[in-house]
């Protein structure tokens, strides 16, 4: 049983069915309408049903699929965390802070990173990005509102 549970398509099928069910649940209150005046709910619901059906097919055919490859949490956690940190920091603190922050957080994803290298490199990269995006291209990305006011 455990073997079967770890198969790619078994989990894939379950995930697809879950997404379909969730979408249908979200769309439950939208009017479906008739063919001539299709309501806003017609397509989301219809597609969710189709998707659920396809997910069932995938689940039923999962016996011969590959078993799942190794997972790791560190990479996704650090990289996605870096993006979220960047998003949180960019408006209030500006690129000058968000840049090094994102690079430092991302560097934690790789076991090969060295701290000193990362810090120096993060600072240099941020300078480069500021020069390129802020000054050369004039994009309205905040630089350091707490320090220089923009």
């Amino acid at each position: 049983m455990r073997q079967r549970l770890l198969r790619q398509d078994f989990l894939g099928g379950l995930a697809v069915i879950a997404v379909a069910a969730f979408a249908y649940w979200l769309a439950r209150k939208l009017p479906t309408g008739a063919a001539g005046g299709m309501g806003p709910g017609a397509l989301p619901k219809g597609l969710a049903v189709v998707l659920g059906g396809l997910g069932c097919l995938l689940l039923l055919n999962s016996f011969n699929s590959q078993s799942l490859a190794r997972w790791s949490a560190r990479g996704p956690l650090c990289v996605l965390g870096a993006l979220v940190l960047f998003g949180l920091a960019v408006r209030p603190l500006g690129l000058a802070v968000a840049g090094p922050l994102a690079i430092a957080a991302a560097a934690a994803a790789s076991g090969e990173s060295r701290w000193r290298e990362t810090l120096v490199f993060g600072a240099l990269m941020t300078l480069f990005c500021v020069a390129l995006f802020k000054f050369a291209l004039g994009l309205p990305i905040p630089l350091a509102p707490w320090l220089v006011g923009y």
Binding site: P44, A106, T118
Partner: protein, 499 residues
């Protein structure tokens, strides 16, 4: 004659110093980012889109097209030198290209790739210029029912042409369609599937989705495989192929250009198939098929030419019908919309300068690539020696800045992280994201046309049967799908992708 005067107008526009400069910069930075391992054209364009925000529409599109070609060529460079394809179409190039590089013939591989691409680009530019006007005229006759049929056909093709199982591709297309319904309903203004998040009221941004499932997920995947990058070059060797090598490549390049150009026009991302098909064909036609996979120069020249031809002719459905056939073209739609242009047959008549200027810039872009890349290959090689642990943080920062700058909205960065996670799961579950992107791209337009068609026919589904062209397209879509699941065909389809 009309063709010539149109092309003259185009070259006049594209050769203006400002546009030439933009095209040059586009090719250069496109190559620069595209060379980074694991960054394909889709991620590159999404990342560099903000560069074009402040330029006039014509210049912006010329620059974006340059970025696209640059990214393509940069991807081939990485495929040949370090065996890391940035996207599916470059996979074939790694087979013989990397072997050539290991034998000390990296320079020739890169040179022949550039020359083959240039030849393919020249032909494809002519094909576009010749086909665009007649196709756009046909497109003006299309009603909503025909558009709907065409899009269904395109999605059917996309399912068939995707790698891996048909069922999984179908799942991904449906998922993409479902994602496209997120946001405010066009007719009633009701919010759909937004979870109450105000930032989702306009729907999911395509650049965000593409950057997540292609750019970010690719970083995550590369991080899992410990550094095995081996810049395979003690020396580059000479760049220009010998006369003998050119003679060997001419046939393959010409055939591959034809294959790539035809497949590129298809509405369902047919261009993906070009490199695979031309590689398989050349292997079959070759007198020494055993040399393929061991550094045969034809094995680099053919897929590279097919790739470039397809990359270019895939502009045809976008420029004439307003239907993006793949993710890159969908990003182009996004860029056009930012500049207030609605892609479709009317672009040619309303903005002839922009239209023909872009076509002319394709040819110029190919020439620029040749000029830029042959001397700069040494620089790209040095760039590829930078360890990935440093490189990926930079890639990530560029992604974040690029995505933020498109709408100046931090939420886009969060959504990108979300779709990056989704893309990582897709990789783990063996689900190919390309069909999902196409489903997403066409989804909104499909719903709009479907509802229009049904409103016109007062709810009768017969409209799809009575209108001959719409019916033919829908039947064609069904046939394609049925054929794909026939046991004999599905077996040979698997074989085609394994090669």
């Amino acid at each position: 004659v009309e063709l010539l005067s149109n092309l003259a107008l185009g070259f006049g526009t594209a050769l203006s110093p400002a546009n030439l400069f933009l095209g040059f910069v586009g090719c250069l930075v496109g190559t620069l980012i595209g060379v980074l391992p694991g960054v394909g054209p889709i991620a590159t364009i999404a990342m560099l889109m903000p560069l074009t925000l402040k330029v006039d529409p014509t210049g912006a599109l010329i620059m974006l097209a340059g970025i696209y070609y640059g990214a393509q060529y940069g991807g081939s460079t990485t495929a040949i030198l370090v065996n890391m394809p940035g996207e599916v179409t470059a996979v074939v190039t790694t087979l013989d290209g990397y072997q050539m590089a290991r034998q000390g013939r990296a320079g020739v591989a890169l040179g022949v790739a550039a020359l083959g691409s240039f030849f393919a680009g020249c032909v494809a530019t002519l094909v576009i210029a010749a086909l665009a006007a007649p196709l756009a005229r046909i497109a003006l006759l299309f009603g909503p029912a025909e558009y709907f049929g065409l899009m269904v056909f395109g999605l059917g093709l996309a399912v068939v042409l995707a790698r891996g199982s048909v069922l999984k591709a179908l799942i991904m297309v449906t998922l993409g369609l479902l994602l496209s319904t997120v946001g405010t309903d066009l007719e009633t203004g009701q919010e759909r599937l937004t979870l109450g998040i105000a930032e989702l009221a306009d729907g999911v941004d395509f650049a965000v989705l593409a950057m997540g499932v292609f750019g970010i997920a690719e970083i995550l995947r590369n991080l899992e495989n410990p550094e095995s990058r081996n810049v395979a070059i003690a020396q580059l060797g000479r760049l220009l192929p010998t006369r003998e090598e050119l003679r060997r490549c001419f046939g393959p390049v010409a055939r591959a250009t034809g294959i790539g150009a035809v497949l590129g026009i298809l509405p369902g991302n047919g261009a993906v198939l070009g490199p695979f098909a031309s590689y398989a064909l050349e292997k079959k036609l070759s007198k020494q098929p055993e040399g393929f996979g061991k550094g045969a120069i034809e094995g680099v020249a053919a897929p590279e030419s097919a790739n470039n031809a397809g990359a270019q002719t895939s502009f045809i459905p976008l420029l004439t019908l307003g239907l993006p056939p793949n993710a890159v073209m969908a990003l182009m739609v996004g860029a056009m919309t930012i500049h207030g242009l609605i892609p479709g047959p009317q672009v040619m008549t309303k903005h002839p300068q922009l239209f023909w200027g872009m076509i002319a810039s394709m040819w110029i872009g190919n020439l620029l690539l040749l000029v830029i890349n042959l001397p700069l290959i040494g620089l790209w090689v040095r760039l590829l020696r930078v360890p990935y642990r440093i490189m990926f943080t930079t890639i990530l920062l560029f992604c974040a800045i690029g995505i933020y700058s498109i709408n100046n909205n931090p939420y886009d960065v969060y959504f990108t992280a979300f779709f990056g996670l989704a893309g990582y799961l897709f990789i783990k579950l063996g689900l190919e994201p390309a069909p999902m992107l196409l489903g997403f791209v066409l989804g909104r337009l499909m719903e709009e046309k479907l509802r229009q068609a049904l409103a016109l026919s007062e709810g009768s589904l017969m409209t799809f049967v009575e209108r001959p062209f719409a019916a033919a397209l829908l039947v064609l879509a069904a046939v394609v799908m049925v054929v794909a699941v026939l046991p004999a065909v599905s077996r040979s389809r698997q074989k085609a992708f394994q090669e």
